[in-house]
């Protein structure tokens, strides 16, 4: 037997600085808020001190964004805006390794995910939207598409850089200026992105990045001089934001939680399905709004699939996010770890059968072993509530109609998965699933050309594709 040999990525590549400042009107400046300390969730050590925005900083940033919109960005020809955004795309790619390591340090996600998914997809998102900047007339959204003005954007901690790209790229391509608030626990890559934006020579004020907690977000969303609010995060906060912009005329898009059904039929290629299920729920520690957190298995193959799943999940390596072999990294914060643990104990209390991967966990840091609940009923909290962690709830069904009914039995509707060898059944199911994205015989695919977003309490508005431009256009 070979001893396990880790393949650690060097943390020096992250170019970590002791302190980071907010990005306002083209300059890095000290914020008036209480500085926050961002923590490496894999070690619980403080990574850096980050200045946060005060109420007056938010106002300054909105004013800077308004000036930049009125004087430069809003009136600039699309072809010129395009070239700025292409620059950002290229620079993100050029600094991809630095960004990937920094993302894994700050967020806790495995380096292979930040390296192979987060950063390249972020660059691709800028690249794709750059090309739209001078082609908006062709987007089919209506004649004479115009920008909205100043956008206030609030993003979550699960894909810090990628979510910044998803928000900034379409907003800029459509001619808006932006004030963006990264998540409290993961502000670092957004501030490196600000550095890239400065290097790309974007006019001051076009992009402003203000770190801080929920109060800064609330201040931004509530600012009277923004024209557009975009939020990605929990359904709970999304509802508060929708409530707060009511009556203001601000355009709103929300990308919220999910409780996706991953439906496996008895004719599915099971080994392939196992890989997809594992990717669907353990990718990014399950900190994915579209995670396949409810596995619906056809009864006749349930036992076989569960056995295969246990065997496969037991091989997942949980640990150091910077180890290139790591499959499941650290839970982003102690708060999130507590929330996951609480929901898992509710599953036990409500009578579901818990299976936990026998994998070893590191001594320190926020880690949670991959967990699978069998015998889950629809009424249980673990079947209804978003856990946002590496926890899979398994339910069974007998007929396609029953699968549809169970899959749709949720206030959410972000994504769904279908596993079957029968093409006609995939399309039949896709017609009936109330979800914004349906993956068939694959899961968790993201591409800037493919619109992403939810039904009902998973939010409204799309990101990516032609349809995603609508969120930032007056059409």
């Amino acid at each position: 037997m070979w001893e396990y040999a880790p393949a650690p990525e060097s943390r020096d590549i992250a170019n970590l600085k002791p302190s980071y400042r907010m990005f306002l009107d083209g300059e890095f400046v000290e914020g008036g808020g209480e500085p926050l300390k961002t923590v490496n969730p894999a070690t619980e050590e403080v990574l850096a001190e980050v200045s946060t925005a005060s109420k007056s900083d938010v106002d300054k940033a909105v004013k800077a964004a308004r000036r930049a919109y009125d004087r430069v960005w809003g009136r600039m020809p699309g072809a010129e805006r395009a070239k700025y955004i292409f620059r950002i795309a290229r620079m993100v790619a050029e600094r991809s390794r630095e960004l990937a390591v920094l993302e894994s340090l700050d967020n806790g996600k495995p380096i292979k995910e930040s390296r192979d998914v987060d950063v390249p997809t972020a660059s691709a998102h800028f690249f794709y939207h750059a090309g739209w900047a001078d082609k908006l007339d062709y987007a089919g959204l209506g004649p004479d598409p115009r920008p909205l003005g100043v956008a206030g954007q609030v993003i979550p901690w699960n894909f810090p850089l990628l979510m910044a790209a998803w928000k900034l790229a379409p907003a800029l391509a459509c001619g808006n200026t932006v004030v963006l608030k990264p998540a409290e626990t993961t502000p670092l890559t957004a501030l490196v992105l600000a550095d890239i934006i400065q290097q790309a020579d974007l006019p001051p004020g076009v992009v402003n990045i203000l770190p801080g907690a929920g109060d800064v977000g609330a201040e931004l969303v509530g600012h009277p001089d923004i024209d557009k609010v975009a939020f990605t995060g929990s359904t709970e906060v999304g509802k508060l934001i929708q409530c707060s912009v009511a009556g203001t005329g601000k355009k709103l898009t929300l990308e919220l939680g999910g409780k996706a059904a991953n439906v496996v039929f008895d004719d599915a290629p099971l080994d392939q399905a196992v890989e997809g299920i594992v990717n669907g729920i353990f990718f990014n520690q399950g900190h994915v709004c579209c995670a396949g957190s409810r596995l619906l298995v056809q009864e006749s193959v349930a036992d076989e699939l569960l056995d295969k799943l246990h065997t496969r999940i037991a091989t997942l390596r949980v640990g150091d996010p910077l180890d290139k072999n790591t499959d499941v990294g650290a839970i982003n914060s102690r708060e999130q770890l507590t929330k996951i643990a609480e929901l898992v104990s509710s599953g036990e209390a409500e009578g579901a059968e818990k299976w936990v991967s026998p994998c070893p966990l590191p001594d320190k840091g926020f880690f949670f072993a991959p967990t699978v609940f069998a015998g889950v009923s629809q009424a249980m909290r673990i079947a209804r509530e978003e856990i946002f962690g590496p926890v899979l709830s398994v339910l069974t069904f007998r007929t396609p109609d029953e699968a549809v009914a169970k899959a749709n039995n949720t206030p959410y509707g972000l994504s769904a998965g279908i596993w079957t060898d029968k093409g006609s059944r995939i399309l039949w199911m896709a017609d009936r699933l109330r979800a914004g994205v349906v993956w068939a015989n694959t899961f968790n695919r993201f591409d800037p050309t493919a619109p992403f977003g939810g039904y009902q309490e998973s939010g409204f508005g799309r990101e990516g594709g032609r349809q995603g431009l609508e969120a930032y256009l007056d059409v």
């Binding site: 070239k83 082609k135 062709y138 987007a139 006609s424 017609d431 800037p448 050309t449 032609r466």
Partner: protein
């Protein structure tokens, strides 16, 4: 003290990613706008046309199957390199088209920006021209654009760089490969553009550039059975009907030329992108 003698460039063809002379061994003198000798250009033959078509066909599989994102990135890279050769193009346009420096600079700016515009279309044309078809039955039906194949391009005679870029970029942005006959009397910028393509990430054979007599080469391109489409923009006016007839032999898609060469400084639309695309419709049943 004697002045240093410059090293003059030999202008050759661009076929399959390489720079061969014409197999015919012929060349012809190229003059500047005032009639002074600039250089000899290779005078391509019928066999050079056939070699170029073979190269374009060979490159088609890889280029058309590359992801649209990849094609967009490769084309954007070309724009980056064009920008780096700005001064050279300005000088060449000054010589071949007799443009004043300022005018030549603004044309080269347009050339780079035009290339960027088409690079951005690579991963968007399918979403603009494709569709999910709401058919009246239990079927999933969708239509997507696909490249036509090998496109013969008779480049504009007057605008030797901006016109050239305006006709070549849309052909390859959608995944076609091209055999281009450069402006007969102003062929040099086309060869310099080929050098840009050769040192970018555009695979050899995706663009092939021939210099020579348009009237001599065009009929072979128009009648070649392995050419799928023909752009007549730079065809001598007296020959266009004959070329269209020759193209009918293998039902080529023909993009006709207007009465006069267009004003290439005008912002383009998607007409040239649409011209060399097929629409493929796929049906699949729905049911349990």
């Amino acid at each position: 003290m004697s002045e240093r003698l410059t090293v003059a460039k030999t202008y050759k063809l661009y076929v399959g990613g390489a720079f061969p002379r014409s197999e015919s061994g012929r060349s012809y003198p190229v003059q500047d706008a005032k009639g002074a000798f600039l250089a000899n250009a290779a005078q391509a033959s019928r066999k050079d046309v056939r070699d170029a078509v073979v190269a374009a066909r060979k490159a088609l599989g890889g280029w058309s199957r590359a992801t649209a994102y990849n094609r967009g990135q490769v084309l954007y890279r070309v724009a980056e390199l064009l920008e780096g050769r700005r001064e050279q193009f300005v000088a060449e346009l000054g010589a071949s088209e007799g443009l004043a420096a300022k005018r030549a600079q603004s044309i080269v700016d347009l050339v780079v920006d035009r290339w960027v515009w088409y690079a951005g279309w690579a991963d968007k044309i399918a979403t603009v021209l494709g569709a999910a078809n709401p058919v009246a039955g239990p079927y999933f039906s969708f239509s997507v654009p696909e490249p036509t194949g090998v496109v013969g391009v008779l480049a504009p005679q007057s605008s030797s760089l901006l016109g050239l870029v305006s006709v070549v970029a849309p052909v390859i942005a959608t995944g076609n490969t091209a055999v281009v006959v450069a402006s007969q009397d102003r062929p040099l910028p086309a060869i310099t553009l080929s050098e840009v393509l050769a040192t970018s990430d555009v695979p050899g054979g995706v663009v092939n550039v021939l210099t020579g007599r348009t009237a001599e080469l065009a009929p072979w391109l128009a009648s070649h059975a392995d050419v799928n489409a023909l752009d007549l923009t730079g065809a001598p006016e007296a020959t266009t009907t004959e070329l269209e007839r020759a193209a009918a032999g293998t039902v080529k898609r023909v993009l006709r030329a207007g009465a006069a060469e267009p004003d290439w400084t005008v912002a383009p639309d998607v007409k040239r992108l649409r011209a060399f695309l097929e629409t493929k419709t796929v049906w699949h049943p729905k049911g349990t």
